[in-house]
């Protein structure tokens, strides 16, 4: 089940919701939080930001770079016309450090939250700490 705990006007394509639902089935890589947001500069993009237990063996990237994958036209994810989906993946420790140290890759997310241009698609109650972190 996908928990939408913070609602904004942002339209989330069904394909993105289905992808999150699919990731929730990965029991060996539990999805802790999924947020969708629109970056300010690339307006046709939509970013799915996921915090995953054990991603990268729980390590923090030495180059302070978040792992990003862009999904192409044959990805099978249904998007709005002209839209591009970027998938950003991290683990809880890396996420906390990225927020604390203001990594460049996290700034798009924090700015989108400031604007209210985001939607939380998944964040169970026991992950309230992560949710508070992005709202801080």
């Amino acid at each position: 089940m996908i928990h939408t705990i913070l609602a904004t006007d942002l339209h989330v394509p069904d394909g993105v919701r289905r992808l999150v639902k699919h990731h929730l089935r990965f029991k060996d890589e539990p999805l802790l939080m999924a947020i969708v947001f629109k970056p300010r500069r690339a307006k046709s993009d939509i970013v799915l930001f996921e915090v995953i237990e054990n991603f990268g063996a729980g390590a923090v990237d030495a180059d302070q770079e978040l792992f990003e994958v862009s999904l192409g036209t044959n990805s099978g994810v249904e998007l709005d016309p002209g839209q591009r989906l970027r998938l950003v993946l991290t683990n809880p420790d890396e996420f906390r450090q990225a927020v604390r140290d203001g990594w460049s890759g996290i700034q798009d997310l924090t700015k989108a939250i400031d604007r209210g241009d985001f939607k939380v698609l998944h964040c169970p109650r026991n992950q309230a700490g992560l949710r508070e972190l992005i709202n801080a």
């Binding site: 180059d63 999904l71 990805s75």
Partner: protein
């Protein structure tokens, strides 16, 4: 500038595999670290080939900077997450099988043998390239006898063969997927 296509990554991985077989001599401990280092390269380049194949097939594109990193487990996880169930269902199941929990752990262990700078105050971990500290804190080197054993060579050779072969098959299947 375009990125290198998948088949070139696979070709280089195959060359590394042949080099590992040539360098390994069962009766010479000093060759074990060299063979394992090459098998690590086989796995790393095979996974990067798969990432390149997904890009060639317009399914998913990993940021270029990640090709120059050695975090293979993270790349494998990202590939798994980038595949949506619809349209790429068969590819997805094959990738999920390739990168299941057991094999991701094996990849993580093999990748840990590439030299990494330890955190301040921590000992230098066993690796296939640089001098390191053993369990007693004494310095040794990868080519010194008993740093690695023949069972480890066999274990990571099997892993390299599996990852290379499976990545090769999935990459071959990707263009066919587009024509259906």
């Amino acid at each position: 500038m375009l990125d290198p296509p998948a088949h070139l990554w696979l070709s280089q991985a195959h060359s590394d595999f042949c080099a590992a077989k040539r360098v390994y001599q069962a009766d010479d401990d000093s060759t074990y670290c060299q063979a394992i280092a090459k098998y690590q390269q086989v796995v790393e380049k095979s996974v990067k080939a798969l990432a390149a194949g997904l890009q060639d097939a317009k399914i998913a594109q990993v940021s270029r900077s990640h090709y120059y990193k050695h975090d293979v487990e993270r790349l494998a996880q990202a590939i798994r997450h980038s595949l949506a169930p619809k349209n790429v269902n068969e590819i997805h199941s094959k990738v999920a099988e390739l990168f299941n929990e057991h094999y991701r752990e094996e990849i993580r262990i093999l990748s840990s043998f590439a030299p990494h700078r330890p955190p301040p105050g921590a000992p230098h971990q066993r690796n296939t390239e640089y001098p390191f500290q053993n369990a007693n804190g004494d310095w040794t080197a990868p080519a010194i006898p008993k740093s690695f054993n023949s069972q480890e060579v066999t274990r990571f050779k099997d892993l390299a063969v599996r990852i290379w072969q499976r990545c090769n098959k999935i990459i071959s299947a990707l263009p066919r997927l587009n024509q259906t």
